[in-house]
């Protein structure tokens, strides 16, 4: 038992998941991840809470609970297969453990426990909110005791399923005795199974399912894990009899674990001995030696491309994503929104198309992980007698190529489904192409500035890399902004297209400058072996500078927005007039207090500003010559200016559109004497 405990602790600490190591950063990451999931749990709980009445009215508690438990088990199997195979057979510690005098059963038990802890994360997300809501709304002591024990024992059976499948495969098939092949196929399997569930569910659409059908569906789902019926009864029975159900469920789970350990004791070594990392290739003959020199930039791009294709983690997350994401998006939108017609020749629509196409095409995450994927090999850049700009260009090419391929793969079905007019299609594609170049460059720049070079598993370089998230976020903002600006500026098609072109070209130039001016310096300074403390200090400094820049830009943007795009808004009700002018400036006065309303072509001189003043724009409290201090809201230097004198003060108003000023005068003059 001591060996089992010690082994489990060591295997857990040696893991690659956040929180498994001792360092503070890992624990902080785990805390952030946990906090990030709280809203999701809250939403789930709220959904269950709100539908509790309906659930109890139709006596669906059992079906719901069984469905939740089975859903969690299925998810654990789907997501756990890859993790189980990697942990049991291809973890770095496996070779060391095999040389020690530890029975295979004990090794397996320890590894099983580590996998189990991972499965609990899934269970929390899927089962916990519903379980808690049911308990609060209708549970008693038996409910809570049994719920806790079921929650603790639920992951055992699905983990046993994953474990038994992997042990049998590895023991009897040499095909899987290749780490790269297993990782790639298991990843493919997980994606295929996920799609196999998502696409049919998508195709179900909003078909209504009768209450009777849903009960049958839940019961059918329980067939995959029949023991969940026992668990459901144990939790919901509410009497002492529930303990019998509970014991039955726990016995089934325990029996499954026992079977697994017995099987593992006989077959685990058979599968784990003689594993290879890679397969043997073909002989290279003298005739096969290349005699043509390849330009350095192409050689570098080819090197990166080969590593992308041959590393399972990169192939699954980057290459496969580039092909699958368009497929998923097209199926999703095609099925649910196929009846929507794209307006013809509309600049805003074109802008939104660019956003969609560029976003889908950039999900390959090749460029924002280009340097991180090098890991310890990042040093090589400084060895080669090749200019840094050329090396950067070499890193850019694979991501660019893949993005353009995705653009084509996405555009064709979209054009078939929605039949946009030629101008929309050509403009959207052309502008998207410019955006792809822009954001591939920006993504690469991000990875040069914040590379993630210290990892034990290649997956960390692509999946635990925040550069990807930052890039997609910035892209969403910068590509969403033109649509919003076009909406506000109300430009015609020609001017709108011109605006979009100039906007995208400016972004392209900015990212090119950023990448090719700062990039070489960053690439020369990359050092995977730099001390963590120095790297952390550098990172903190960079984060501070970046946050400062982002904050400044955001503030300037907001202020600029208020100044240039927020106009004076006057609301007249039956009793009062309210003026809102942005930048926090507003005022109101009662209609009954109005004494005089008149128009003048010019504005007397103003002084004593308490508010905002820029050119023709005045917003706030000013001293007006001849009138004293009052509220002034003007947009133009040209008249007319509307003066409203009321008890205790006055307000001067003027709009860019003089017709608007005149109209307001017409509305308000009835409340005061004419000038």
């Amino acid at each position: 038992m001591n060996k089992y405990g010690a082994l489990t602790r060591v295997l857990f600490k040696n893991g690659a998941m956040p929180g498994q190591t001792d360092d503070t950063r890992s624990k902080i990451v785990l805390l952030i991840v946990a906090v990030a999931f709280l809203p999701l749990l809250g939403v789930e709980a709220a959904a269950f809470w709100n539908s509790y009445g309906m659930i109890t009215a139709y006596h669906l508690e059992g079906a719901m609970l069984t469905g939740l438990l089975t859903g969690a088990c299925v998810t654990m199997v789907l997501l756990g297969i890859l993790y189980v195979i990697s942990t049991y057979y291809f973890a770095d510690d496996t070779v060391l453990l095999l040389t020690m005098p530890i029975p295979p059963q004990r090794i397996l038990a320890a590894k099983f426990t580590v996998v189990l802890l991972f499965q609990y994360l899934i269970e929390v997300l899927v089962v916990l909110p519903g379980l808690v809501v049911l308990g609060i709304r209708g549970g008693n002591v038996f409910y809570w005791v049994n719920a806790i024990l079921v929650f603790a024992a639920l992951p055992l059976l699905p983990t046993v399923v994953c474990s038994v499948v992997s042990i049998l495969i590895m023991a009897f098939s040499r095909f899987f005795h290749n780490k790269d092949r297993v990782k790639f196929l298991a990843g493919l399997l997980a994606i295929a199974l996920s799609l196999g569930i998502c696409i049919p569910m998508q195709l179900l659409g909003d078909r209504s399912v009768s209450i009777q059908d849903s009960s049958a569906l839940m019961n059918k789902a329980a067939v995959l894990f029949p023991s969940n019926l026992l668990a459901g009864h144990a939790i919901l029975d509410g009497t002492a009899v529930s303990l019998l159900w509970l014991v039955a469920f726990l016995l089934v789970s325990a029996a499954a674990v026992a079977v697994f350990l017995l099987l593992g004791n006989r077959l685990y070594l058979r599968g784990v001995v003689g594993l290879s990392q890679t397969s043997v290739g073909s002989r290279v003959t003298n005739e096969g030696l290349r005699t043509k020199r390849r330009p350095a930039v192409l050689s570098l791009a080819l090197k990166d491309w080969r590593l992308l294709c041959r590393t399972p983690a990169y192939a699954l997350n980057c290459l496969l994503g580039a092909l699958l994401v368009p497929l998923i998006m097209v199926v999703t939108f095609g099925v649910t929104l196929h009846s929507i017609a794209i307006p013809h020749a509309d600049a805003i629509v074109i802008s939104l198309c660019v956003l969609f196409l560029a976003f889908v095409s950039m999900t390959n995450v090749v460029s924002p992980t280009a340097v991180s994927r090098d890991g310890p090999d990042a040093n090589l850049a400084r060895l080669f007698p090749v200019p840094m700009k050329v090396q950067i260009l070499g890193k850019l090419i694979p991501g660019l190529g893949l993005s353009f391929a995705t653009l084509i793969i996405t555009t064709i079905p979209v054009c078939i489904l929605y039949r946009p007019d030629a101008l929309t299609a050509v403009s959207a594609c052309g502008l998207s192409a410019i955006s792809l170049i822009t954001f591939n460059m920006f993504g690469l720049f991000l990875d040069l500035a914040f590379p993630k070079l210290l990892w034990n598993d290649e997956t960390a370089a692509v999946k635990q890399n925040f550069n990807v998230t930052i890039e997609l976020l910035v892209m969403a903002i910068l590509l969403g902004l033109p649509a919003f600006l076009l909406y506000k500026m109300q430009l015609n098609l020609q001017n709108g297209l011109l605006f979009l072109l100039i906007y995208n070209l400016v972004l392209l130039e900015a990212s090119a400058q950023l990448l090719f001016r700062k990039g070489p310096e960053l690439l020369s300074g990359i050092d995977p072996s730099a001390k963590p403390a120095k790297k952390a200090a550098d990172r903190r400094k960079t984060i501070r500078v970046t946050l400062g820049v982002v904050f400044t830009v955001a503030v300037l943007g907001m202020v600029g927005w208020e100044i240039f795009f927020v106009h004076t808004d006057v609301s007249v009700t039956s009793s009062e007039v309210t003026v809102s002018a942005g930048l926090g400036e507003s005022s109101s006065f009662a209609l009954s207090q109005i004494q005089k309303v008149y128009l003048k072509d010019t504005l007397p001189s103003v002084s004593g500003r308490v508010g905002f003043s820029s050119g023709a724009q005045l917003r706030g409290s000013f001293v007006v010559e001849g009138l004293g201090r009052g509220h002034v809201y003007t947009e133009s230097k040209k008249g007319p200016f509307l003066f409203v004198i009321y008890k205790g003060g006055f307000t001067v108003l003027n709009f860019n559109d003089s017709a608007k000023t005149n109209h307001l005068y017409a509305v308000l003059r009835q409340y005061g004497q004419k000038a």
């Binding site: 043997v280 073909s282 290279v284 005699t291 020199r293 590593l307 310890p376 090999d377 050092d527």
Partner: protein, 241 residues
């Protein structure tokens, strides 16, 4: 030729990797760089090759300053790192083609050199396999071949014999001798003092970032009791520091 002029490098206040290093390696010699673990050997080599930047001082290779003209300087040398685990998912031949492209090796010449070097190091049958499947020694050999493909004037080798089988080690030592005899430079670090004794024309002993000795082995022995082995002299020098 390699020249270190007053080179300093610190990693934090208490860790000096290079303390005013001044060293010259002439053409036509095999120069051994010796020192205990953590003495600063690899750091010095990394500064020579441009992987690390010195805090102060200059390093020139064949008269070209590594900091001021890095591209030209890097064309002068071939570097074999202490760890051969790089670009593991490329096949051997792909790695060599890649290295040849980086160093602008002309087409026909590269095929010829790959054929010759892979035969010499008995790697010709393994070129079609991924480096990931190689043993440590095979990885070392493929890296050595890759470093020599462009026939550099200066060889910078960081513990190159580690993991090599006796025949390959002998081949490499022979090549090192031939290279130096043709008025070119070989700079290598090693822990195996017997190799240094048999192969090197001159040696430098470094400890805590400082050169304790630089000169020929006979000079070293003269400075100490003449009948002592290099191993004993080395241990005495590095123990007393």
């Amino acid at each position: 030729m390699i020249e270190f002029s007053d080179v300093c490098k610190n990693f934090g206040p208490s860790k000096t990797a290079a303390d005013h290093l001044a060293l010259t390696v002439n053409d036509g010699e095999i120069f051994g760089f010796l020192g205990p673990n953590g003495a600063g050997k690899t750091t010095s080599i990394k500064m020579m090759t441009g992987i690390l930047k010195p805090d102060s001082g200059r390093i020139r290779i064949n008269g070209i300053d590594v900091a001021e003209h890095p591209i030209e300087a890097k064309k002068q040398f071939g570097y074999v790192p202490d760890s051969p685990d790089q670009l593991l998912r490329l096949k051997g031949i792909e790695y060599l083609d890649f290295m040849a492209d980086m160093y602008d090796v002309p087409g026909e010449l590269r095929a010829e050199r790959i054929k010759t070097l892979s035969a010499e190091f008995e790697m010709n049958k393994a070129l079609g396999d991924r480096i990931q499947s190689y043993s440590h020694g095979m990885r070392q050999k493929i890296v050595i071949i890759g470093a020599l493909l462009h026939d550099p004037a200066v060889w910078i080798l960081d513990e190159p014999l580690t993991g090599l089988d006796p025949k390959s080690a002998f081949t490499l030592k022979q090549r090192m001798r031939q290279h130096a005899d043709s008025r070119k430079t070989v700079f290598f670090s090693t822990h195996v003092l017997e190799v240094a004794e048999n192969l090197c024309d001159r040696v430098a002993i470094i400890d805590h970032g400082r050169i304790l000795f630089s000169g020929s082995l006979s000079e070293l022995k003269e400075q100490h009791r003449g009948d002592e082995s290099l191993e004993k002299i080395f241990l005495e020098m590095t123990d007393h520091e």
